[in-house]
Amino acid sequence: MEIRWDILLAIMGASVVTLLPRVLPLVLLSRMQLPEWTMHWLNYVPVAVMAALIAQELFTTDGKVHILQHYIEILAAIPTFTTAILTRSLLGTVVVGILSLMVLRFVL
């Protein structure tokens, strides 16, 4: 059970560069009146970032597209999306997603 100095240094530095992008926009922008177009633009950020993250998880390995490698995940995404649309339950969606993947891996 030890902490090495070089690792500690890396962790400290990494925590600072992680903290700043998290905190600065919230602190600064919440005190400013933003121009109208920025608000409209920011309004689409949640949908854009979630869609991008899903695509990356579903279709890529190390940033590169590998559809064949991911066909089970892509198939499992169908019942997952369906559950989300029909039940509007986040927990239900996660549970169905995990079960779908488990069943598909077992069957295929």
Partner: protein, 243 residues
């Protein structure tokens, strides 16, 4: 009678904004980050980090993809400068998330907003933006409930991974690796359904998917996500103006 109704309304609002409600609203995301955190602990351990170092990492950095990459770089004996720069780029997308959340925290002091932002993640952002629908502000207490629950869950999960990782070698067998993807799918769908501008949101989502997949061949995955978010959100804005 109408006074009673008004009181009830107020009570509901207070309950909706409470710390406890924030904790409750975090529950659906716990499984996803539990499995990813566990995996991060396992990977950290196998790349030669001590349990204490892994705990410190989760407590101070608290970011999934960054911690995976850091473990990889440490295993490859990367320099501290290279590690810090990589983590910076990987976590730069938080700038966009933090900016998108800022309009909902105008009522807080700078110091209080800082604490809200310090524990910002993709998941808490997704949950908060769903909550923010049809509202002009978010409650600080509710946000703390959400944030702290997710934070503790992450720390516990990585420590567990570091301790027990050697016995559970294949979490993929149980489909747990899909929990995170499923959670993002749920967050996206809930968001789109409640926003009621489905056509425009679909355009934005499809653009984001195409851009992130296309850009992935040229830049790292984390830069691709940032590019996709910036451009796809701009497309949404332009389409909206056009109408």
């Amino acid at each position: 009678m109408s006074e009673n109704v008004q009181l009830n309304q107020q009570e509901i609002e207070v309950k909706e904004d409470s710390l406890l409600q924030g904790i409750r609203d975090c529950i659906p995301t716990l499984l996803g980050y539990l499995s990813i955190g566990f995996a991060a602990g396992v990977v950290g351990k196998t790349s030669g980090l001590s349990v204490l170092e892994i705990t410190l990492m989760s407590t101070l950095i608290y970011a999934g993809s960054a911690q995976f990459i850091m473990a990889g770089l440490i295993a490859a004996h990367g320099s501290a400068a290279a590690i810090i720069l990589t983590v910076f780029i990987v976590n730069l997308r938080h700038l966009l998330l933090s900016a998108a959340m800022s309009p909902y925290f105008r009522h807080l002091s700078a110091c209080k907003t800082m604490f809200v932002g310090a524990l910002l993640t993709d998941e808490t952002f997704g949950v908060a933006m769903n909550k923010a629908m049809n509202r002009s502000s978010l409650s600080e207490k509710w946000m703390h409930g959400l944030n702290i629950t997710a934070y503790l869950n992450w720390i516990i999960a990585t420590i567990a991974g570091a301790f027990f990782g050697k016995w559970i070698t294949d979490p993929e067998k149980y489909g747990l690796d899909f929990a995170l993807t499923a959670m993002f799918i749920g967050l996206l769908v809930l968001q789109m359904i409640s926003r009621k501008i489905i056509r425009r949101d679909l355009i934005v989502a499809v653009c984001a998917v195409l851009i992130v997949l296309g850009a992935g061949s040229f830049v790292s995955g984390s830069v691709a996500v940032i590019a996709a978010t910036i451009v796809a959100a701009a497309i949404g804005m332009v389409v909206e103006k056009w109408k």
